[in-house]
């Protein structure tokens, strides 16, 4: 009985430490990673871009449709693995992206569930044509929040596969 409190305190620490640690834990990712869009489970090569406000997705054939008064956007995503996925998502806004030559471009904003490594969250995504670019997806700061640190000299630190489910 008398030595019980010592072990009790050790047990308490073992049980609570992960909670305390994960509350402050940041994930280190590379400059390029595999990211997953849920629930369609689309795995894409993504550039991790601290210079971008929001996440940006290569989307084609974007059309606006009305679903019971809600403005939806229908578009296709090329998985770059022989598959094309059609997604319908509510438009939540417009992002204005300044360009060098003085003309701003406007991109529609939606919300998608995106996973990068152990972190999955719903995040703002702007739709654009990235057909001429190497990466179909750009992960922006609004996804990273204060949960991610970027090592731009490395790639695929979170592995090469996709991850189902949510684990925040």
């Amino acid at each position: 009985m008398k030595s019980m409190s010592w072990w009790t305190s050790v047990l308490v620490v073992i049980l609570l430490a992960p909670a305390a640690a994960s509350a402050a834990q940041k994930q280190v990712v590379g400059g390029v990673e595999k990211a997953v869009i849920l629930p369609e489970n689309i795995v894409l090569d993504a550039k991790v871009d601290t210079g971008a406000d929001n996440t940006s997705l290569d989307a084609r054939h974007i059309t606006a449709i009305d679903r019971d008064g809600i403005k939806m956007l229908r578009f296709t995503v090329d998985t770059r693995q022989g598959r094309t996925v059609t997604i319908e998502s509510e438009q939540v806004g417009i992002e204005i992206v300044p360009q060098h030559d003085g003309e701003d471009v406007e991109r529609p904003l939606i919300v998608l569930e995106v996973c990068l490594g152990k972190q999955c969250r719903r995040t703002l995504v702007n739709l654009t044509d990235r057909s001429g670019r190497k990466y179909p997806l750009l992960i922006g700061r609004s996804f990273m929040l204060d949960r991610i640190i970027v090592d731009p000299s490395r790639e695929y630190l979170t592995g090469h596969g996709g991850r189902k489910g949510s684990e925040q």
Binding site: W6, A23, K26, T50, G51, V105, R141, S153
Partner: protein, 198 residues
Amino acid sequence: MKLFTTRREMEPDGYCARDGRRRAARSLWFSLLLLFVAALTSAVAAAEDPRPVVGVVEKVRIHPGALLLPAKIDTGADNSSLNAADVTRFNRAGEKWVRFDVVDPDGHSITLERKLVRTARIKRQTGQAQRRPVVMLGICLGNIYREVQVTLVDRSRFRYPVLIGRSFMSGSLLVDPSLKFTVEPRCPDTPAGGDERE
């Protein structure tokens, strides 16, 4: 390792109540201490990495000229770029040079002349690609000093006149996009003087 004495185990049972309270208080303090250490050591996943972590915006010094400018630290950019005005190309001793003005946030302007390294094609969303001059400049970020290729562009519409790209970072630092202005530029290796400026 014994952290507590075992003296109480030899005391008669009659004193258990008071010792029980002291014991509980001590084990509570110990739990909190271990919890604090656990949280601290895993607070940042990059704790074992000796490389510095900088924020998404930092003050840098540009050399020659030692101009202090705020810079966006952009892991999505290959190279660094600088807001330059009145960019003029000229020849000197058979080589191509560029003269340009750089302005700091206080309005202090300097004119630099640098040898042209190459011309870069800037990717654009619409229309033709822009061709911009690239020169070598020294950049100090934190205590890291590097001479890198910098593209001279018009960033007057952007918040920060300098963009630091991956070629500068090249394995020397990590970026935490939730932080800003975490370091002052303090580099011991910067070249003295600027015979390249007026």
